[in-house]
């Protein structure tokens, strides 16, 4: 195993292919025969209405739910990977991470190093250094010794990212990593993910509720409805008024911002709100 201070450049690793991935939860089909390919270093945004199967898809890729079909990473079936090897390949940030009140920020980040030491192993000096570096990268080095319950929501969210990055896995799965944040912090975190993705050649798959942000950050979007993949491609191709109206059972208007980004504007139901 390489023990260099700098991560070894990974050329074209982090390619993910899902073949007929299906998940059945409590005898209902939560995910039905989903096929999608994500290129190394790309960002796939998963969009869809509540209950469409967005989180389930991420959880299947993260091996947190039993699934049918296959998930391949760089051509290898992930079922054939050992626990630690998989944890060195895929990092996952859940929808609501738990923060032990008195754990220190640096210790929390260092937990991400777990796949790199043995079952009973403890952190080496190198693990400590990596954790400290990550805290610096996310701009929280001054909070390194603070207890988690003294940090703000935005700081905690960045800390979770740092913990996931400490795994040094080429693939990062984010389940609504920004839903608890205000608008400014949300953009901050997504910008951070994007910068790290480019810097470290990470492949990112994230679920995103905010369609306007999804269109700005993801290069490729997958629209799920009722557990099935109904559209996939670049945001401008998938996020049309017709498609979104149909699968979100909403009435939206797609606008273009000054810098030509897609802006999704929800409209009120017809016959409501017309008081003039």
């Amino acid at each position: 195993m390489a023990h260099d201070a700098t991560p070894v450049p990974r050329d074209s690793t982090g390619r993910i292919e899902l073949h007929d991935v299906g998940v059945t939860l409590d005898r209902t089909v939560a995910l039905d025969q989903v096929n999608v390919h994500v290129a190394p270093g790309a960002w796939l945004g998963i969009i869809g209405a509540n209950g469409a199967g967005k989180s389930t898809l991420l959880r299947a890729v993260a091996r947190l739910v039993a699934y049918s079909g296959t998930v391949r990473i760089d051509g290898r079936d992930t079922r054939s990977m050992g626990r630690r090897e998989f944890a060195q390949t895929v990092a996952y940030v859940s929808q609501d991470p738990q923060f032990p009140a008195q754990m220190r920020a640096i210790d929390y980040v260092a937990l991400g190093r777990t796949p790199h030491h043995g079952y009973f192993g403890t952190e080496s000096a190198r693990d400590r250094d990596r954790s400290a570096e990550l805290l610096r990268d996310i701009g929280l080095e001054h909070l390194s010794l603070r207890a988690l319950d003294s940090l703000s929501g935005g700081e905690l969210q960045r800390l979770v990212l740092a913990r996931a990055l400490a795994q040094e896995a080429p693939i990062l799965l984010l389940d609504e990593a920004t839903s608890a944040l205000d608008l400014g912090r949300r953009v901050d975190v997504l910008e951070l993910v994007d910068a790290l993705r480019i810097d470290r050649r990470l492949t990112v798959i994230s679920t995103l509720h905010d369609l306007t942000l999804a269109a700005q950050f993801a290069e490729q979007v997958l629209l799920l409805a009722g557990g099935r993949a109904v559209a996939e491609g670049p945001p401008s191709a998938v996020m049309t008024e017709e498609t979104l109206n149909r699968y979100f059972e909403a009435s939206v208007e797609i606008l273009r911002s000054r810098d030509n980004n897609i802006v999704v504007v929800p409209r009120r139901r017809e016959g409501m709100g017309n008081y003039d």
Partner: protein, 333 residues
């Protein structure tokens, strides 16, 4: 950790020196040195005092160290595994099982008193095994709550049987009670060698898992995505903690609250990481029980207060403080 170690050494020496026959610290150190192999140091102390130190006081103090550190480490482990600040080493029925085993040994005529620890140990292991079987059949609850509920049920059944056996042999109430209340009065070196292997094995396994207990604090799924199997960690830790605890109570009787007081005190003074809480609890648990035992034999000298009564007397009020202090309770989670 260094502080806890220094405190332990001091407590051990002072506690060995104190007693009905007043010995000086120098005498104690001298006798100890004379037993260090390869040192060839000869203590000038009288044979009587040498015997008091080596045959009476020291086994008792060492036994208190072993039992105290095991109960404290077991408590910290249970609290980490079940993520419950009030979990203690007796959670899964060890105490009830050991109580039944000890009662049967005491009331059965013609059993040797040496068999008492073995019977208590066997009872504890049987009870916990039963808890496991029932708990794992009852449900595959990931938080381990079904196993805790099974522990409550098994403990109730064993306590009922024990009470029944006890009532049928009313003449033996006194020794049964004094065992249940916990005491190190008749500690010998053979007690020490009886439990030492189990306590050592248990402590090594538990300390090796301290980093994994920290990972469990961030949640089940996070642990899995970090390459750790939370169920395996839980099972191993609970099995090790139970084995050590069963061995400890088999010689000491049921000494309560050590497993709750000590880890919480440690959490209040450190950063609550299990990497720190586990080893410091181990060392502090030893000091705590040595002190409690010293108190038990000094306060009504030449009589003795049961050790379990002393720890409960300190433990009760402490428990209330723990409940009031959110900091310590949060440290578990």
């Amino acid at each position: 950790m260094v502080v806890a170690g220094v405190v332990l050494v001091t407590v051990v020496l002072v506690s060995t020196a104190m007693g009905p026959a007043d010995l000086s610290l120098g005498t104690v150190v001298g006798v100890l040195l004379s037993h260090v192999p390869l040192l060839h140091y000869h203590s000038s102390t009288s044979p009587i005092n040498q015997a008091i130190v080596w045959e009476i006081r020291l086994p008792r103090v060492i036994l208190a160290c072993l039992v105290g550190s095991m109960l404290a480490l077991g408590g910290a482990s249970y609290q980490g595994v079940f993520r419950n600040p009030l979990a203690d080493p007796y959670l899964l029925g060890v105490a009830a099982g050991a109580g039944l085993g000890a009662t049967i040994a005491i009331v059965t005529p013609s059993t040797f008193s040496e068999l008492l620890p073995l019977a208590a140990f066997a009872g504890g292991v049987v009870a916990v095994t039963l808890t496991y079987v029932v708990g794992s059949k009852a449900g595959r609850s990931s938080s381990g709550s079904s196993i805790v509920l099974a522990g409550v049920a098994v403990a109730a059944i064993f306590t009922a049987i024990q009470t029944n056996v006890q009532q049928q042999h009313a003449a033996d109430l006194q020794p049964v009670y004094s065992w249940i209340l916990g005491s190190l009065t008749v500690a010998t070196w053979s007690d020490v060698t009886l439990i030492l292997p189990y306590v050592t094995l248990s402590a090594v396994v538990l300390l090796a898992h301290r980093h994994l207990l920290d990972i469990l604090r961030v949640g089940e799924e996070e642990a899995r995505t970090l390459g750790v199997n939370p169920n395996r960690v839980r099972l191993t830790v609970v099995a090790a903690a139970t084995l050590g605890t069963a061995a400890a109570v088999s010689v000491s009787g049921l000494i309560g609250f050590v497993g709750i007081i000590v880890p919480h005190l440690v959490r209040l003074t450190t950063n609550a990481s299990y990497r720190v809480v586990m080893p410091v609890s181990l060392v502090s648990g030893a000091s705590f029980l040595v002190l409690a035992d010293l108190f038990a034999r000094m306060v009504e000298a030449p009589g003795e207060v049961p050790l379990g009564v002393v720890t409960a007397f300190i433990g009760g009020p402490f428990f209330i403080l723990v409940l009031r202090s959110r900091r310590s309770a949060q440290g578990v989670l």
